[in-house]
Subunit: 384 residues, 2 copies
């Protein structure tokens, strides 16, 4: 297939581009590198030095003989560039990761809140319009997040809910109650995409992804130049990636509050497989399809305990500490979320094992001199 | 009270400002006049010449001896100006009308879609942040729309829904399925405001307003210079205002499709009273309160029939015609929406009477030479 990866310079975008390229597909990437600016704004840097997209594409060609076409376009602010890219590349599948991806970043201040919201929402609106102009039959795979749902007291279904109220029934978008402006931007995206499917016949799969962890994929392991931008800092690092980094550098694992927050998680390798499964069985014309993309759930305290146990088995001195929660979120809550759609398409979950945790810790330890410990502690409060 | 009206140059904002000023409150208005630009972009103009906000404020002072303080600020793009206005005026109530208000405008093209979404969403986000900085205890009355709900097959409640699913219960935001990018911008506002109430303790009343009709209020009738910007065109004119204008100028009433679309309606005088009722009994700290603000429901065909009947009684030759619906919306649908909250606060609805329709037609007829007939026909399609 001809598959275009939006946000192809990022933690998930770049591995996704290589994954599809390695499997013989024609791959293009779009990015405007703004995440590198955002990282610098908050003083964060990836664990490994990340070459420019140009150099990574070139290195990939050298290593594999395969071409990845790259477009440097700001999809939120340069709609004509986006239209032109779609017209030139003619994708039949688009994977859209090109959004500001951090909840804490969006809660920094007014400016970051509005930038997150307008960047993410305008980018996705531009994309819908550009697809209608250039490739109305292409299948859009949009990355959302399980955090869109929040932690309702009812079971979470996959995007839609069959509801009966006062004796009448309807199928409605699952009611959302997210926990940050970042998550709110994804809620708006989902609403907007459902509308574009409904009135224009766009075909969309919204992947409400859990918290991703992992350092490497098959393709990032080929060369240091092909690594992905692994983040461990309190702004862009996801919790398990942070915890393994803390363990690797002998920094107490920071549990926000008592750690009762339960969320869905998945391995970065499963992210790639889920996107592939969605791409291989596209949404129908006019269908707004939602998959919950996670393989298992953990509380934060459970994750910390797992990492501490494995780190100690590796001979590391490590402990966990409870910080006052900088976020506003339920300390204890119901959490039961459906995730059968991707399983029924053939996903075979790589569940978190002690060996995986050990492997992640060892991967980080090899670069432990690069870890900026000061960026591990949360500095952004949800409160004003 | 000290009440600040955002969008004070508009169809509802200006009458609201005068209404509260006439009742002895300290009133301020904020506007950036961008609606006048949007009107010109689509070739629309209000039925009556509308003096600048400066002149209207001055005329109001001359007529009543009362002062309305005005601030020319773009709340979406000039957050510092907004912060400064709030700090200077120190409102205890804010009424927020300052949004792009037209569904067809938002469906014109990509540019208008993104402008509507980012203008409305960024303005409201800026406002929440500015309130937390300048007046965290003030009560925000935000204008939403009944169109946020769409036309679900279940009864529409007031913003929230008590839901039981698989044996568990929760109170969730009512699931929305709106019909334009404009309506989607209001859905995003509602989600964002609920979050700001939840995490910051902001107090918000979200008024999901039906379709407003009416030419005059007690205060606009004082002087021609104090009239409000009545729109009859297919972009900014609401349906009943359009129909009475068509009747007044002997233009066939344009029914989109078969006219089975049922919506909630209210008189502009009831809009003012509803805002007053909400202001007099503010939401609690941290409460995101939603009122459905309409007094009765009509189908488009019923409205056309009412207007045709009254116009003929006035001796006008008038008919209605069915156009191919330029919008994508259900031709026939369930529509049962709750509106008891404002009634229980004391609203006494002014239901649509034949005398009111006659009065509106006569008001428009006095300015019928100004009507640009070419702007009565819809030119914007929801389809691509």
């Amino acid at each position: 297939m001809r598959i275009l990866i939006l946000g192809g310079d990022g933690y998930l975008g770049w591995p996704t581009a290589m994954y599809f390229s390695a499997r013989g597909h024609d791959v293009g990437v779009i990015d405007n590198m703004i995440k590198r600016q955002w990282e610098a704004e908050v003083g964060a840097e990836p664990l490994f030095p990340i070459p420019t997209l140009t150099r990574r594409v070139s290195r990939w060609r050298t290593a594999t003989g395969r071409n990845i076409e790259s477009f440097v376009v700001d999809i939120a602010r340069n709609p004509r560039g986006l239209y032109n890219s779609l017209q030139q590349f003619k994708p039949d599948t688009i994977v859209h990761y090109a959004e500001q991806p951090s909840a804490p970043f969006s809660m920094r201040n007014r400016d970051a809140c509005v930038e997150t919201m307008t960047n993410n929402v305008a980018g996705t609106l531009n994309l819908g319009h550009a697809m209608m102009s250039a490739c109305p039959n292409a299948h859009l795979i949009k990355l959302g997040t399980m955090g869109e749902y929040g932690t309702p007291n009812i079971d979470i279904e996959e995007g839609w809910l069959e509801i009966t109220h006062k004796g009448r029934s309807d199928r409605v978008l699952f009611p959302k109650r997210p926990g940050s402006f970042y998550h709110l931007s994804k809620v708006a995206d989902s609403q907007n995409l459902e509308f574009m499917c409904r009135i224009w016949g766009l075909r969309v799969t919204d992947l409400n992804q859990g918290v991703v962890y992992g350092v490497n994929t098959e393709e990032t392991a080929i060369s240091d130049d092909l690594k992905t931008s692994f983040h461990y800092d309190a702004v862009f690092g996801t919790v398990l990636n942070r915890f393994v980094t803390m363990a690797a550098v002998n920094f107490p694992l920071s549990i926000y509050g008592k750690g009762g927050q339960t969320r869905g998680y998945l391995n970065i390798l499963d992210t790639l497989r889920c996107v592939e499964l969605a791409a291989n069985t596209p949404a129908k014309q006019g269908e707004f399809r939602v998959f919950n993309q996670f393989t298992e759930t953990f509380s934060v305290a459970e994750l910390a305990e797992r990492v501490v146990k494995v780190a100690r088995q590796l001979g590391l001195k490590v402990s966990a500490e409870n910080l006052e929660n900088p976020r506003v979120e339920a300390a204890q809550h119901h959490y039961q979320a459906a995730n059968s759609a991707l399983l029924s398409l053939g996903l075979e979950p790589r569940l978190l094992s002690d060996a995986m945790i050990a492997d992640m810790i060892e991967s980080v330890r090899r670069s432990s001199d690069s870890v900026q410990k000061e960026s591990l502690k949360p500095t952004i409060s949800w409160r004003q």
